[in-house]
Structures are given as structure tokens and as C-alpha cells.
Symmetry: C2
Subunit: 441 residues, 2 copies
């Protein structure tokens, strides 16, 4: 039994309580006691403690791109060429090192669970590694060693575009057929390294570009109770291609094949028709917004407030890791909606905190995380309320969402364990790994 | 003579030099020597050193609003009511304390010069203080004590709207007539406290709402060589009101009265017609963008790339201080343009750094600041290149603009003096000042 005493804890919408004792047994919260002074034996969390954050959309290796794609003019598609240049260099060892460094950065910012949208499966040319899940297992090991839980969303990727075969590095993404992908994912889900409960194996349709219509049902039927994620309508060109190929928008194509359910996370969901929005909302699907990436990649501003209003559940991801700061992601959802509408006040701070915590974990298959309550995973993130950024702003949800930054995270407890990461060590690991990766021939 | 040795220094577009020795005499740079090892007697600046940043649009007292206006739904105009609630409470002592705390936050983030757009001139009901410039002088003292240079932009504010008299707290903003305003500003410019060269007195037209057409020329003729700033076309409603009142857009109204020149900073410049844009650009006016405030206040996305392309000079401000982080402001200009256009690569990192440094200082009347070169003010800001945010991103302009945050500022030299501010002390001052202000009856 370990005890943490929170000076202030966020226990739900508009409920910040002073003096909260959180007793932890193993990885879970055993008991939450409100309004008590700090017992001598408890570890004292001074500041505002919130639940651990769920980063629901990550491509860990994109961390190596930070600062390196901004010289370009051009589009999402030219950015993608640069990203492929990094993907080409990765073997399972490099992939582990880079993911571990990126995940340590995440943990240091208060993220305690990551959804890794994983598509770099095979060796050069598409040849399987001796262990066909070597790359996915590298992600699992990296997360475990960094101290966070992972939901590995194993992505099916069979075609480069509508009717086009994978080309170049894309061959590393493809299992050749949906059946071969399903077989490999089945093996991954029963691998001993994915059995402990810090790992969840889920599935992903990379996109409607990458999985032909006739293969969608196979993906949907594989691990049918696990989370299913998909890149959806991030770019107008993808919508146009889908309509040209099938006469349907991506969301409608997915719905036709049974993919749009309460276990679906539609990642981005930027360019939606009214019908698309209605079908996602009616199914209570998740919409995973990645606003700092959507800014960086010039995706445009999606209809987040309308999605929430209609009943879809919002979640957040740092995606390309242009920055890793879920506080910035939270406020960006609201702020970008303000830019699009010239009106303030679409989503409350409580709703945005809910997206980053409870809803986020649910979309990763973790219904028992994201709230500071008995029985939940013991994930606690404490914010400094007296930093230059947060001082004077009040002990409120609004301060956490609109004033705080990743740099204001003072303490992180993940799965019951206090993670002590020195920012200098996190930076040194990132620097070492990325420099050695980029300097290799 | 003091010497600073920069591990890496940004000496201009695409010119980052390793091993740069900066010799300082008094407040100015005496000599810059490139490509040398660190002399024993030099203070070592490890990381990437850039020139000090100019925060060209500040309302210092808005810092007390941080985190406190996000509960509201509503508009810019309802936000303004909350802001007025703070303004009502301020006397010169409180104004000094709050500005000093806000300015210390600024210095800690690498800002070495501030443009204070100052309109809270008088006591309750509009009665002058015994020293009629007591409030402006409080801003000057606060900046000096915090360690940064100030350009006090003394704003003329005579009407609440087109033809409407000042109401409520707005009476504190008004001098009654443009002539009385000009008299007071003249006294301020010749006051002994504004004589040292760490202070520049400039003027401001609060907005076309607040200065009637017939008074514009008086403002333009006052301190005719000093910087002149104006809130311009931040909100569509203001444009509509101006056209209804005068048959002209705000920019065209100002141009008609000789205000649109190379000394003008048009703050926001969000909702411009093609003609507005052309007239600002032809005059080589500055456009002062405040993107984090424009997000917060739902202003919309202005035409920053088009302004720059046409020849206007971009500068940056943290305005309402929803956050104080000019790195975020720099990238936000580009990222919001991407959201508006669905294209990447409008402004380069070098252009954005130029906006935050050389152009910014020029708009504040400081032509000898914002570059690390002999004769310039000795302002140096050193970024940590191995923080969790910046590590692995490279020693580049792109890292400074797209990866760094205010929390990555390691060292600040302002006007030749090294400022050592502990973030905890900055936060403690903010907390103390804002709490006491809000708790007073």
C-alpha cells in the first residue's frame, strides 16, 4: 500500500477538492478520501492533481521529425515524403530506442497511456522479420521501459492509394493480404509480452486509401472487442479519392462495412459531411483530435464542438509529435474552434479534461482509467500552480486547460508507480537517439 | 566590459554560428567575434542564443485575467466586461505591482522590450491623479524594476463607440478632449522618469471606435516621430460600425488622416479588405499579430502571409497575456495561416524570428535592437537545445520557432545585464499580487 496526498485534486467536472488522500494497492487506486490533512507517511503532491493523460494517437518514430520538416513549403503529401525518409531507417532496435525516448518525453508531460498507431511492421521490401511482430513488440517494450501503458493499434496497410499497390517504404507496412495481417495480429495478441495488463492490443484501418473496400470486413472482424482506430478524412484529397473510387465518403464507406461503432476512434475527422458527423455520433464513436499536428500539416479545423454536441466522444493525440503537450492539445481544440467560428465558449475546460483523461482511456480499451476513483488505474499528474504560467490563474479546471503547459508537470504517478524523470535526462536520451539515427548512412 | 560567449548564436537568416563572443560595454554590444573558443573570463551561454524578443503589444493588467475568462461562453464583447472588472480595481500602486509581476514573467521568457499599450490613465470617474501621468509612470517604473525596456504607447480614448461617450470604467481612459490628451502626453515625454534611454514614449489611437474622426489628426501630430500604434480591425463588428459611421473601413479612415505611415503598428489587422492591406503595405507599416489572444478572443485568422508578401512588416505581441510565450506566438502565425489555407510553408522560421526581434524592436522605436551586432542593445536570450521539447530537433531556426517554448529559456541578458530570475520567485510574485488584487473588496 502506497499513499499519495493531493493538496488539490480534480475529481470530476467542477469538483476540485482540497486535501485528497489516494491509497494505492499495486497498480490501482484502493481508496480515495476527501478533505483530509496530509498523513506523515503519504507522499505529498503539492499543486493540482489530475488523472493521468491518455495520448490516443501516436506515431512514436515521428518524434525524429520535430523541427526538421519546417523548411519545406508544400503540403501534407510532401511532408509525408520526409516522414518516409525516417521510416526507411528503422529496424526493431532503432524503433525501440526512438519510441522509448519519445515515450519518456510523454511520461514527463503527464501522459500515462499511449495509443500507438503502428504500421511499420516489416523489414526492407516487406520481408517479415524472424519474429513477425518484432516491430510491434519493440513498441510494447519501449512503453513498458518508459513507464506508461500502451494500446498497440496494429494497422492494416495494403494499398498506397485507391487501387495502387504499396510503393517504396510502404512495402514495409504491408502484410500482402488482410488475412495475413489478421494472422499476425492474432499472434501478437497471444504473445506472452502482450499478456500483462499494461498492454492492450487493438486494431487499425490505416485509412480508406490503405485498405481496399473488400478487405475492410476482415479488419473489423479481427479482435472484435478491442479498440479499432482509423485515420479519417484528414485531407480533402482523401475524401475526393474515396468518393471517386467508391461513390462514398470515408465515414460512409466504413459504416457500410460495420466499422462505425462505439469501439471506433476516427482520428482527425476534419473534413466531415453532415451525414458523416451524424453516423459517427449515432454510434457513439470516438473522434480523436490532434490539433497541433492538424495545424502543422495544414489539415484545417474540424467540427469538434458539433461532434461533441451530437454525441461523439472527443479524445486527443499528439500524433506526429510536433509538440508533446496535451495541455496545448486540450486548449487548441477550443481555440481553433473559436478561430473557425468567431465565437468563444464551445467546449468547457471540464469537457476538454474529460477528453484527455476518461474518454481518452476508454478509446484505448481502458474503462478503468482516467478518473481518480477507487478501482481505477493509479495515475496521478500534479501541476505546479505557481509557475510563471499558472500563478495567479486560480485552482481551477480553466488553469489546467488554458494556462498550464507540459513544463508545469511536477509529479507523475503511472500505474501506481512514481516516475522520477529528470528533464535533462529525457532530453539527453532524445538527443542521443535521434542524432545517431539521422547520422547513420 | 563584460563578455558573453555563445555556444551557438543566431546572427541572421540561416546563419547560426558556433562559438560567438559578444563583448558588451554598458548596455550595448561593443564587438561580436565569430568562431572562437570560450575565453575563461566570458560568461558561457550554452545552447542557442538569439537576440532579445520584443513584445510589441501588452496590456500588462490583463495578466490578472489568465484562466478567469474561460468559463464564459459569449464573445469578445462579453470578455471585455470581465476585463473592465479588473481595470476598475487598479490604482497606481496596484497597477505597478501587477505590471511588475507580468513584466518579470516576460523577462523570464526572453522578452527584453515591451510595448505597453496604455489607456488606464485616470482615477475613478475620470478625475486626474495629482500627477496626471501617475499610471503611465507606474508602467515605466515596473518595466525598469523588472529589467526590461519599455515603449509606453499612450492611448487616446475619447468615445466608447462611434458617437457614444465613455461609460463606466471607460471614463478612466478618457482625457475628455484630444487636446488634453496631447498635453498630458507631452508632459509625459518630458518627464524626468522617461528621459533615460530605457524608455520610449509613443502614442496610440485606441481604436477608430475610441477616437472620433475629427480628433485623429491631433493624435497623429502629437510626438510625430515616435511610434504610433492602433487596434485595427480585430472584430468584424468594429469594421461594420466604422463603415456605418464614416463610409470607410478603419484602415482607410486612418489613411485619410495621415496615420498610415512607416511608424504605424496596426495591431491585429485581422479583418482587412484588399485595399486595407494594400495601403498598410504600401506605407511599410507594421502589422502586430497577437495570435494567442486572437485565438482566445475568437477574432479569426488574419492575412499575415499576404501582409508580409505585400511589404508590411510583421511584429508580435502577447496582448491579453492568455499566455506569455513569444515562441508560441511566432509559430502560431504560421500554423494558423496553415489552418486557414490548408497549405504549409507561408512564413519561414527566419521571418518569424525577425518579427519577434528586429522588426519588433523597430516598431517600438528601437532601430538599434533585435540583432546580435556591434552597436545594438546587448540583449541575448539562450535556449536549451536539450530539453524534452527541443532535444534532437537540431541547432536550427526551426527548432527555436517550432519546438521551443518559454520554458526553454535558460539565460536572459537584457540591456547588457544578466537577469537571474528564479521561476518560483516569478510565480510567487504573480500569485501574491493577483490574489491580493482579486480579494480586495
Amino acid at each position: 500500500m502506497t499513499a499519495y496526498w493531493c493538496e488539490h485534486a480534480w475529481l470530476g467536472p467542477r469538483r476540485i477538492v482540497e486535501g485528497v488522500l489516494v491509497d494505492v494497492t499495486g497498480t490501482k487506486i484502493a481508496r480515495v478520501t476527501e478533505g483530509v490533512p496530509a498523513p506523515a507517511e503519504a507522499f505529498r503532491l503539492a499543486g493540482l492533481t489530475i488523472p493521468g493523460l491518455a495520448n490516443c494517437h501516436s506515431h512514436a518514430f515521428h518524434r525524429a521529425l520535430r523541427g526538421r520538416t519546417q523548411l519545406e513549403r508544400g503540403s501534407f503529401w510532401t511532408w509525408r515524403d520526409t516522414m518516409y525518409g525516417i521510416a526507411e531507417r528503422l529496424d526493431p532496435d532503432h524503433a525501440y530506442e526512438l519510441a522509448r525516448a519519445a515515450y519518456e518525453e510523454m511520461v514527463s508531460t503527464g501522459i500515462t497511456a499511449v495509443g500507438e498507431f503502428h504500421y511499420l511492421h516489416h523489414a526492407a521490401g516487406g520481408a517479415p522479420y524472424e519474429e513477425p511482430n518484432a516491430m510491434g513488440l519493440a513498441m510494447v517494450a519501449a512503453a513498458r521501459d518508459a513507464g506508461l501503458r500502451i494500446t498497440l493499434l496494429d494497422a492494416c496497410y495494403l494499398s498506397s492509394g485507391f487501387g495502387a499497390p504499396p510503393d517504396g517504404v510502404q512495402r514495409r507496412f504491408s502484410d500482402g493480404t488482410a488475412e495475413a495481417w489478421a494472422q499476425r495480429v492474432g499472434d501478437l495478441a497471444s504473445h506472452p509480452d502482450t499478456k500483462p495488463d499494461d498492454v492492450t492490443v487493438g486494431t487499425a484501418i490505416h485509412s480508406v486509401r490503405a485498405v481496399p473496400r473488400d478487405d475492410l470486413s476482415t479488419v473489423v472482424r479481427t479482435l472484435p472487442d478491442a479498440p479499432l482506430h482509423v485515420h479519417l478524412s484528414e485531407q480533402v484529397a482523401e475524401n475526393q479519392g474515396c468518393v471517386a473510387a467508391y461513390g462514398l465518403t470515408p465515414a460512409m464507406l466504413l459504416a457500410e462495412h460495420g466499422a462505425v461503432t462505439a469501439r471506433l476512434s476516427a482520428v482527425h475527422a476534419t473534413h466531415l459531411s453532415a451525414d458523416d458527423l451524424a453516423v459517427l455520433a449515432a454510434a457513439r464513436s470516438f473522434a480523436c483530435l490532434c490539433p497541433t499536428t492538424e495545424r502543422d500539416l495544414a489539415d484545417g479545423i474540424g467540427p469538434a464542438p458539433d461532434l461533441a454536441q451530437a454525441g461523439a466522444r472527443l479524445t486527443l493525440g499528439s500524433d506526429s509529435h510536433a509538440v508533446i503537450d496535451l495541455f496545448e492539445e486540450m486548449r487548441a481544440v477550443e481555440l481553433d474552434a473559436r478561430l473557425a467560428t468567431q465565437q468563444r465558449g464551445h467546449l468547457t475546460a471540464a469537457e476538454l479534461l474529460g477528453a484527455a483523461t476518461q474518454a481518452g482511456h476508454a478509446s484505448l480499451g481502458l474503462d478503468d482509467a482516467g478518473q481518480i476513483t477507487a478501482g481505477n488505474w493509479a495515475d496521478l499528474v500534479t501541476l505546479d500552480l505557481r509557475s510563471p504560467r499558472t500563478a495567479g490563474a486560480g485552482t481551477t479546471e480553466e488553469t489546467a486547460v488554458f494556462a498550464a503547459s507540459a513544463a508545469d508537470v511536477l509529479h507523475v504517478v503511472a500505474s501506481g508507480r512514481r516516475i522520477e524523470l529528470d528533464p535533462g535526462d529525457v532530453g539527453a536520451r532524445l538527443d542521443r537517439v535521434i542524432t545517431s539515427l539521422l547520422e547513420q548512412p
